[in-house]
Symmetry: C2
Subunit: 305 residues, 2 copies
């Protein structure tokens, strides 16, 4: 989603979906609801609450409907769900989500591994999903996964990304997320792809989804910002990963990203101390440490007695 | 040191000094020599081999002279030692170092804690050291520690950094390193300070010493590069820290930094696979894991079968 101010960055919190989906232990439904409700007060623009995916595919998100029914909706915050197919779209509609997020990997083999569909089959699904949600008023976002590279096929061409954006928009998809699904992107590539997309689609609600796999997450985010990007996915604590990329670390960390933006004089509208409080509780919720830096080191204005 | 090509980045490996100095266990002298010799073949421009400091202050570097006597000197690589005082300078001279690195924190309280001197006392020491090394042909580098902020006093003014550079140069110091000693810097600050210094001192051999305390190390490095910086300190594996900044992670990681530069099309002259091999052996040498990312995730062109 576009942010209200040209220079303000919108933060989209994906910890509940991308963060929790690969956790070894199930995060209790009431913990998810509690976290969503507290995140709603931090100033994040959008919360990806869950995924209406098969419980067999992702058991950790089997409670998607219960979470959506349990959370409070704060005005001004968009509550999103990832939707992989028509059945998922129907479930999302029943839960009155604000937005559905459709996902296709432009790496064919990654799409097969991740979505169990060819790209053609994914696009056919999208067409059916558009029919299901038509007239509901729900915002449709489309994610282009592996936009910066596929773990099986390597780099993807800029032309393929642009073709996918055109195809998504022709289908009626309103917003686009370009995703560095397994953390292959570098700052030059991110800056150039962002600038290219915005040159072709100045009016497009464009979001960037980054992983910190190779420690370039924050550098990539800043390069994107400098090229005009104003909306970023990130996960509290920097948790999350990809089952097809062993050794890969998680999503870019929300509080580290917000901290960098604020240090650089870039407004996010987010309350950093509130985020840090939530991040500090994650290890107890998950039973393990999290990759985020600021929650351990403190903010850069920390002064010792 | 300036690099040969305008666009090529010089990598200064500080793992043996800044990396090892705070390690809980002593790294055996023969391991240090072996690592220096293998690093000499990787394409790094400068190796900070040790510090001629009091063995009581930093027991892990008590073998500085033995390490210097044991290492092979590869032509084209500069072998540097940190030197805190006149006695250290004399020992460095006996070991025929290529360069001595003098250090003062511009945060008075950090200088007192770290060097046990006021800034005036440090500068007086520098004058005496210059007399000791005069005529030896040894290159004199001066580090401005806490240039981006002090853990006790907070941010330092640009004027204070510029005053310190002028003072160093008046003393005869030939190269300058600006150090983000405890990882407080952000990319905007780094870009602006680098540009300001190079505007005043276009001919100055300028180096940037970064820590990844708040995960901004690589973003800071790229911002500095874009502002004209062409020489970077970094430590294999990203080890090292500061005893006065609890929770702080280590130096910016050499192989992660080189990986980012290469991904961005920026030449370093460094053999990344050779670095990764050395980094992969660090956990066995140190008895614990290291913070580096690439050694775990693989390079971004890694493709899965």
């Amino acid at each position: 989603m576009m942010s209200k101010n040209e220079d303000t960055v919108a933060i989209n919190e994906v910890v509940l979906r991308d963060g929790f989906q690969n956790e070894p232990s199930f995060v209790p439904t009431e913990e998810k609801i509690r976290l969503s409700d507290r995140l709603s007060g931090t100033g994040v623009r959008r919360i990806e609450v869950s995924s209406f995916v098969s419980p067999k595919a992702i058991p950790n998100l089997r409670d998607a409907a219960d979470v959506f029914r349990g959370i409070e909706r704060t005005p001004g915050v968009l509550y999103t769900a990832l939707v992989p197919n028509v059945r998922g779209a129907e479930r999302a509609l029943e839960c009155a989500v604000d937005e559905v997020n459709l996902v296709m990997s432009i790496g064919e083999r990654h799409n097969l591994a991740n979505m169990r569909m060819t790209c053609d089959q994914s696009l056919a699904q999208f067409r059916e999903i558009m029919n299901v949600v038509a007239g509901s008023g729900i915002f449709i976002n489309g994610t282009i996964a592996t936009a910066f590279g596929c773990p099986f096929e390597g780099r993807q061409s800029v032309e393929r990304v642009l073709w996918t954006i055109d195809t998504y928009r022709d289908l009626g998809i309103e917003g686009i997320t370009i995703a560095d699904t397994i953390g292959m992107a570098n700052p030059r590539q991110v800056g150039e792809l962002t600038a290219t997309i915005l040159r072709h689609h100045a009016d497009l609600p464009l979001t960037l989804h980054l992983h910190n796999t190779r420690d370039m997450g924050l550098a990539n985010a800043l390069a994107a910002y400098d090229a005009g990007m104003r909306s970023f996915d990130s996960a509290l604590g920097g948790i999350g990963g990809c089952p097809y990329a062993p050794g890969a670390t998680g999503n870019v960390c929300t509080e580290d990203l917000v901290h960098m933006f604020h240090n650089c004089g870039i407004d996010t509208g987010v309350n950093l101390p509130a985020l840090l409080e939530l991040s500090g509780e994650l290890p107890a919720t998950l039973g393990h440490g999290v990759p985020g830096y600021i929650v351990k080191a403190g903010t850069s204005d920390r002064v010792y007695a």
